[in-house]
Amino acid sequence: MLSLLLKSIRSRIIPTSLVTISLMASMVLLLSIERIQQGAEEGFNQSISGVDAIIGPRSSSLELVLYTVFHIGRPTNNITTKTIDDIRQRNDIDWIVPIALGDSHKDFRVVATESNYFEHIKYANNKSLTLSKGKVFSDLSEVVLGADVAEKLNYIVGSKIQITHGSTESTSNKHDDFLFEISGILNKTGTPIDQAVFLDLKGYELLHLGWKSGRKVFSLDKIDLSTIPKEDLNPKTLTAAFVGLKSKLTLFNFTKSIREYPNEAISAVIPGIALSELWSIVGLVDKGFQLLSWIIIAISLIAMITLIIASLENRKHEMTIYRANGASPRFLSGMVVYEALFIGLVAIFGAIILVSIVTYFATSQLNSTLGISPAFKWISFGEVKVFSIILLAGVLSSLIPAIMVFRKNLHQTLN
């Protein structure tokens, strides 16, 4: 039957192909949306590991996580260094890494922090940050680059760069009097860390020393750096601080204390919770798109059945000849069902290939914009389920024309 069916389809190749492509495209739509969302979620989740809480000004917890971890959005408030120094004394804390954000280098975010950042901040299930070249900054004039920064801008250890105040290139806001030297380049992590430039908090403070009220008052090369008292180079405010606790079970007590800290309005955000909230929101949008895609798939299946029913009239001749030669009505209706099955399988196979291509491009896009790198896979169990449902729906709905053919041919004259 297969060769007869294939040849029959070939004689109706254009409408059949159109219907198959329509079905294929709608499946690609459904799966791509799902994959992209999953990829983004995975990538985000893998971006931070081992940080129990993030201390920041009292604001939306999601916002805090977004700008401190993913460098999305801007900090609008600061916390004082004094508060962090105070909190440092607590004995439930294992380590604390303060950071300051707000500057950029050629559109890459600058993260000012202490050198212990590279020891405590991990990603993807406890993987440590490692350097591919050079070493962590040890002087306030040194910077460490994320892997993508070095690659995209062709920097090597020893190159000298400028840092801009604020987050985009602005000719008047360049600190063009002072150049930082690249001391090290990090290995690729597949997280936003790859797209960041790291410098010491003191270097960051130095950068802003010549500025008062947003205006450059003096150039740094006009001042003898050794005359500046070391304490003055400690920044007075910070954006946030990452915290690791000795025992994770004390997490809630910790966040409560921070919330009740008397001297400043701060709070401690648990990254897992913030991310979980993010995915709830995203999940709603995702479900909306999925529903839409399923509707389109249903429409494509209806188109396929319509095509088959329409073609039955044309195939009367063909079917009568089979019938005269001994084919049962069951054979004829079987051909209809197998045709639907065949179209479905071809559409699915094509969809798998197309989705892989789409995923590939989407993944590299996610990588270049957000720095995250989700893993690639050919097909997942959930997707197999989706395909099975669609195939089953297609085959079941082909029973309509199949029964039509069956009944028409059951007791018929041959003409």
Binding site: E41, E42, L251, F252
Partner: protein
């Protein structure tokens, strides 16, 4: 052919995990497991006729705090089932490999945090579980191990390993009953 496809479809459906629904009695048993985490007699210092004054006395409050840190060592190595809520700590892809289990929802945000002996670190690294929103009730089945009672090292408090996690679903009836009970 069609039958084969249909059968495969049914098998796929059954492999889906749905939330489990439990009876009220079973749920009460599970909820009572939380009190097993407190060592026997830990709260014996609370007098029968507690006066408001005592309740607000800082020494009394300090004793409550202390009692909340006490661990029940007899639970070491035992299998336990606890209903509660998930606070994700560690992710693996889109799943959660480590989370804190707390008895009430929202405990890390609005409501005062639970005592240290009513929080557990659940280690699902061998088989990471689906992320559930903070307010989705779950049941955790696993083996409990009791760590140090001084909470300034990593290996302290209760940890559950070999965890199996199920989402819990309440029928509307059960929910209404619970409200009535609470109003007594």
């Amino acid at each position: 052919m069609i039958q084969k496809i249909f059968a495969t479809f049914l098998i796929f459906l059954s492999v889906n995990s749905f939330a489990i629904v439990v009876t009220d009695e079973y749920l009460s048993t599970l909820v009572s497991n939380w009190s097993r985490l407190e060592p026997a007699g830990a709260y014996d210092f609370i007098p029968e006729d507690l006066s408001y004054e005592t309740y607000m006395d800082p020494d009394f409050l300090a004793k409550l705090d202390e009692a909340g840190k006490k661990l029940n060592n007899t639970l070491e190595g035992q299998d336990i089932a606890l209903p509660g809520f998930m606070v994700p700590i560690e992710f693996k892809g889109t799943n959660v490999s480590k989370f804190l289990l707390v008895p009430e929802a929202g405990q890390c945000i609005h409501v005062p945090p639970p005592p240290l002996n009513q929080t557990l670190l659940v280690d699902a690294s061998s088989e990471p579980t689906k992320l559930r929103d903070l307010y989705i009730p779950i049941i955790v089945y696993g083996r409990i191990s009791v760590g140090s009672q001084s909470f300034d090292i990593a290996d302290s408090g209760y940890t559950i390993t070999d965890a199996v996690i199920e989402t819990l679903s309440f029928s509307d009836e059960a929910y209404i009953n619970n409200i009535e009970d609470n109003n007594d």
